[in-house]
């Protein structure tokens, strides 16, 4: 039996007998046993099509020349891959592929890392006999804003079209025409606007598809690569980050089976551009009064010691005058685990304040996110059913969307979507349970009851529950904030309702890149690093740190309210921009304006950080090493590929410098030392030291004692360098001698036990009354779009043009009732404020509701939401 339980069969490849899982494709098992059969169209993550004909082999007893990519192995199969007949055919196919291929390699992005070049060298004929005129096409033509197509270079392998259709579910590119005229085509005026378009460039075996951001940026032999994870969202896809001359030029997807399976979204793939942005802040700044009038003055550049002293002084003054409760820290969810840990220690161990939150009122309480029974991404494939109780994954966590889509569309796992309107996954859902904003918990409660055998009054809900009948496996709930216009309590209520179902597990779909790591490391009120609560962890951390906060502090919304009332005297913004990211902009703005002293640790001057008294420039992803924790709790390493331009420092070091000035030495000299320290003191991270992290191919899921099977010691992968048209496999830094045997490790892992009992959520939660909506109002739904006004997107030249315009989506019936046409402007008002917006009719938005995307440039949803209310009802009127 193989690892996944398939029967093994014995086959012979070129005289070598090997045992392989029955039914696997010949091309794959041959490669795994050292025989590379050349190929162009086959890709391990897509269905085989057998069209390039490069992989033909001979098999005893099988007539003709079967393609290895479509042939499943059977017991006793005897395969020959190098006979004269096979060689001749390989020569022939290559010659034919090349007759119409322009030999413009010197100016082709793929030149030097081109599978067609490489395969020709290894398997091809020496010369071409083709003297006729080659095929000609206009070149290159854009197929989208990010991807260009050179049809002359295309070898018609259908990898891009299959990716778009099978994997992304966006069949916006297709083969057109036929025979020798076959070309990749888009529909007129409908570009390949897929969030995943960059993957087609990566899987293209030639330079037919090139990426606008990378075009002509580098020659492959000048590139230097390091394996890392993307820090754009909380999926944290594995990637190979490449630089040339200390400039990041490309991120390629690495095939990590439990996480991204080779894919990246375009936002993650091209977001690195922000790092090179002109307007990065490269030096520290302090606000200096310029005139004698006592005006606040401007931020001016200064030295690090001056800035750090100023920051420490301001914080110390607040502590001295008003005590720890007057100090607060917001942020820490965009950095590494090491950064988060250092901020937690500064705030809780040094400043002794518990007014700390990595989220901005846009997430879920840490008690819930950390305390639910956790599912892994891989659990989606084998789930009895998946309940979607959260955001539009396609917009917020794109590669998680791919995994859910795959489980539903290819794996037949029933998908139950509980949401107020359609999302990117609705078309794959077996059941769509719609509800008004604010009433999600009610729907969840009825579903839970129906699953437990008490029919609800709703046939839809009962039908959804029936999908589980006769299915084994866990119920996986994907839990996040679907609607930023309603209180998080609504989602908490829904989670509580579902948590009583037997065999339920939760995948916490919070978006900000390292939010899980930040929460796990104590950046939330009531928590200490390593999933310990203030109560359970008190003794342990008093012992380690000398002290912790006395009482549970405020969360972000609480901090903002307190600040707005003048009760926060020092506010630390650790890479956060509340004015843009808090759903209630007025509250956040007032809070920052009213805070006595603000320190911002950031990379850009944002709406929030430009109001700080001290600005400390931080280094970012690509510029620093460390570990991160993805939404399933998987801890992996990130790599430094370039050194920051200017004097930016990693957050953990800034926190340590501040601590030192406030009288506490952290004694941590490198990111690795912080990692070791986390493994030592943070209960949930126990055992996760550098020696394990260096060897674990896919990282490890915390707490490791619960997930020993997730640790795989490295196996040799192909080199990271170069465009990975074949899936790139992760490369461990240290390859242990015995690559297959994890058993020793597992017994070690099982023996580690945390010093402190890890937090579990007690789901008894209050039921919230939902206020009735008056007949003239629409109930607002606020969700995210992938490209938004976020700092990174706006600072990436390739991505910023993709940010959509803010519009109010309403059902066409409501639009007509308001009396406007698509594109006309309306005034949208709540008790919080009012904005002008354009309207568009949208069938995905039910009658009585309205949708607005969060955080698009200009006035928007955040100007309407009052975070103290459980839902947001808007009045809409025409302004003509």
């Amino acid at each position: 039996m193989s690892a996944n339980g398939d029967a093994l069969v014995t086959i012979t490849i070129d005289g070598k007998e090997v045992k392989v899982p029955s039914g696997e494709l010949l091309i794959k098992v041959a490669q795994e046993h050292g025989t590379y059969i050349p190929r162009f169209c086959w890709h391990e993550r897509m269905k085989p099509v057998g069209m390039c004909r490069m992989c033909l082999v001979e098999i005893d007893g099988v007539p003709g020349l079967p393609p290895a990519c479509t042939t499943p192995v059977t017991d006793g199969m005897v395969v020959h891959t190098t006979t004269p007949q096979v060689r001749k055919v390989q020569d022939g196919v290559l010659e034919l592929l090349l007759i119409n291929h322009p030999l413009d390699c010197p100016v082709c992005d793929r030149g030097g890392e081109c599978p067609l070049q490489d395969t020709t060298l290894a398997f091809g004929p020496g010369e071409s006999r083709f003297v006729e005129e080659k095929r000609h096409w206009e070149k290159p033509i854009p197929v989208s804003d990010l991807v260009l197509l050179d049809r002359e270079r295309c070898i018609q392998c259908a990898r891009c079209t299959r990716f778009a259709d099978e994997i992304a579910g966006d069949p916006l590119i297709s083969f057109g025409e036929r025979g020798g005229h076959t070309e990749i085509t888009t529909f007129p005026d409908e570009p390949f606007a897929s969030y995943f378009s960059g993957n087609t460039v990566q899987v293209c075996p030639v330079g037919a598809l090139t990426a606008q951001p990378y075009r002509f940026k580098a020659r492959p032999w000048d590139l230097d690569a390091a394996e890392t994870s993307c820090l754009t969202c909380a999926v944290q896809c594995r990637g190979a980050l490449e630089s040339a001359s200390n400039q990041l030029v490309r991120l390629l997807g690495v095939d990590s089976d439990p996480v991204n399976q080779g894919w990246l979204c375009d936002k993650g793939r091209y977001g690195y551009e922000a790092i090179n942005a002109e307007n990065r802040v490269r030096y520290p700044m302090v606000r200096k009064s310029t005139g004698a009038d006592g005006s606040p003055g401007e931020l001016v550049e200064c030295s690090w010691p001056e800035a750090l002293d100023a920051a420490a002084d301001g914080i110390q003054r607040a502590l001295d005058l008003n005590g720890p409760r007057s100090v607060a820290l917001i942020g820490g969810a965009r950095g590494t685990n090491e950064d988060a840990f250092a901020w937690a220690r500064l705030a809780k161990g040094v400043l002794r304040t518990d007014n700390v939150d990595a989220q901005l009122g846009d997430g879920l309480p840490a008690a819930v996110a950390l305390g639910l029974p956790h599912a892994l991404i891989n659990d989606l494939d084998t789930a009895a059913a998946i309940v979607l109780l959260g955001p539009d994954l396609k917009e917020e966590l794109p590669v998680l969307y791919l995994r859910v889509k795959k489980a539903a569309a290819d794996g037949g796992v029933p998908l139950i979507e509980i949401s107020p309107r359609d999302t990117g996954l609705s078309r794959y859902a077996s059941a769509r349970l719609r509800h008004l904003p604010g009433e999600q918990a009610d729907t969840a409660r009825k579903l839970a009851a129906a699953i437990s055998g008490t029919p609800s009054a709703s046939p839809d809900i009962d039908a959804a529950a029936a999908l589980l009948v006769g299915r084994d496996g866990d119920l996986v709930v994907v839990l996040g904030r679907g609607d930023l216009a309603e209180s998080a309590d609504v989602t908490v209520g829904a989670a509580a309702a579902l948590s009583i179902i037997e065999n339920v597990k939760f995948l916490v779909a919070l978006r900000r890149a390292n939010v899980r790591g930040a929460l796990e490391l104590g950046l939330a009120p009531g928590f200490l690093p390593g999933r310990a609560t203030l109560d359970t962890g008190r003794d342990h951390f008093v012992n380690e740190w000398g002290g912790v906060p006395e009482e549970v502090g405020l969360d972000a919304l609480g901090i903002f309210s307190a600040a707005a009332e003048g009760r926060i005297h020092a506010l630390i913004l650790a890479g956060s921009d509340p004015i843009n990211d808090c759903p209630d902009r007025a509250l956040a703005r007032n809070a920052i304006m009213a805070s006595g002293f603000v320190v911002a640790i950031d990379t850009f001057l944002t709406e929030s950080s430009k109001r700080a008294d001290v600005f400390l420039p931080a280094s970012i992803w690509g510029e620093k090493t460390g570990t991160i924790t993805n939404l399933e709790g998987r801890v992996q390493r990130v790599a430094q590929k370039v050194s920051p331009d200017g004097t930016a420092m990693p957050d953990w070091r800034i926190a340590a410098e501040l601590a030192a000035r406030l009288g506490v030495e952290f004694d941590l000299e490198s990111a690795d030392e912080v990692t070791e320290e986390i493994a030592r003191v943070a209960p949930a991270f126990v055992g996760l030291d550098m020696s394990l992290l260096r060897r674990a191919r896919d990282g490890a899921v915390i707490p490791i004692a619960l997930f020993p099977d997730e640790i795989h010691l490295g196996r040799a992968g192909v080199a990271l360098q170069g465009a990975s048209w074949d899936p790139i496999l992760p490369v461990p830094e240290v390859v242990p001698e015995d690559t297959d045997d994890n058993s020793d490790l597992h017994s070690i892992v099982l023996s580690v036990s945390p010093a402190v009992q890890l937090h579990e959520w007690d789901s008894a939660s209050p039921q919230l009354p939902t206020p009735a909506r008056d007949a003239y109002a629409l109930r607002l739904i606020v969700g995210r779009t992938l490209y938004d006004g976020g700092t990174w997107t706006m600072a990436s030249p390739s991505l910023s043009p993709l940010v959509p315009e803010s519009v109010l989506l309403v059902n066409p019936q409501d639009r007509d009732r308001i009396g406007v046409a698509d594109g006309e402007s309306v005034r949208v008002a709540t008790g919080r404020g009012s904005i002008a917006a354009r309207v568009r009719g949208d069938l995905a938005t039910p009658i009585g509701t309205a949708f607005m995307a969060f955080n698009l440039p200009g006035p928007g949803a955040a100007d309407l939401v009052d975070a103290t209310l459980s839902v947001t009802d808007i009045r809409v009127e025409s302004i003509r």
Binding site: D170, P171, L172, I173, S174, F175, G176, E177, R178, T185, T186, F187, P188, E190
Partner: protein, 163 residues
């Protein structure tokens, strides 16, 4: 909207006659072409909507098939075979003659096609998919002129008898 009310009705019936809606792409494209004389982007969009697929997929499918004209053509589509029986019985000459003769006539679109399954009467041609064989350059021209005058009416495209 591309389809006329009557054709929209037919289109719905066609979609319903298949176990899967995507199967209706070719018949709907024929219907649109029979109605409009060509397969316009708007028609492909409408077909995409009716079959629940992307317009790019409709285009991908339709552009595979030579009968679908994705640019407007004349009212009369004259298809002349030059395949191996017509090749030796006057097909190429007939094609050349008709191409020359109607090069300035917007109403007549002359195209070369593969074997029309009319080889016993080679050379052969179709006018809007109506067969004519045993042709000479003169008789072919007469026939086309008869269509132009409306004395002959075809079944296929623009003849409208199939839609």
């Amino acid at each position: 909207m591309t389809f006329t009310t009557k054709n929209l009705e037919r289109a719905r019936t066609i979609v319903a006659s298949y176990p899967r809606p995507k199967s209706a792409v070719l018949p709907l494209a024929h219907l649109a072409q029979d109605q409009d004389g060509w397969l316009s982007p708007e028609a492909m969009r409408e077909i995409a909507l009716m079959t629940g697929i992307e317009p790019a997929e409709v285009l991908g499918t339709c552009s595979f098939y030579t009968m679908f004209k994705r640019d407007p053509v004349g009212r009369l589509v004259v298809s002349v075979c030059t395949n191996v029986t017509c090749l030796v019985t006057g097909g190429p000459e007939l094609l050349e003659h008709l191409v020359d003769r109607y090069s300035d006539d917007d109403e007549v679109f002359v195209e070369e096609v593969e074997c029309l399954a009319s080889c016993d009467g080679a050379p052969a041609m179709q006018v809007n998919y109506e067969f004519h064989d045993g042709l000479t350059t003169a008789s072919a021209e007469d026939i086309i002129e008869a269509y132009k005058r409306g004395e002959l009416v075809a079944r296929g495209t623009s003849g409208g008898r199939l839609s």
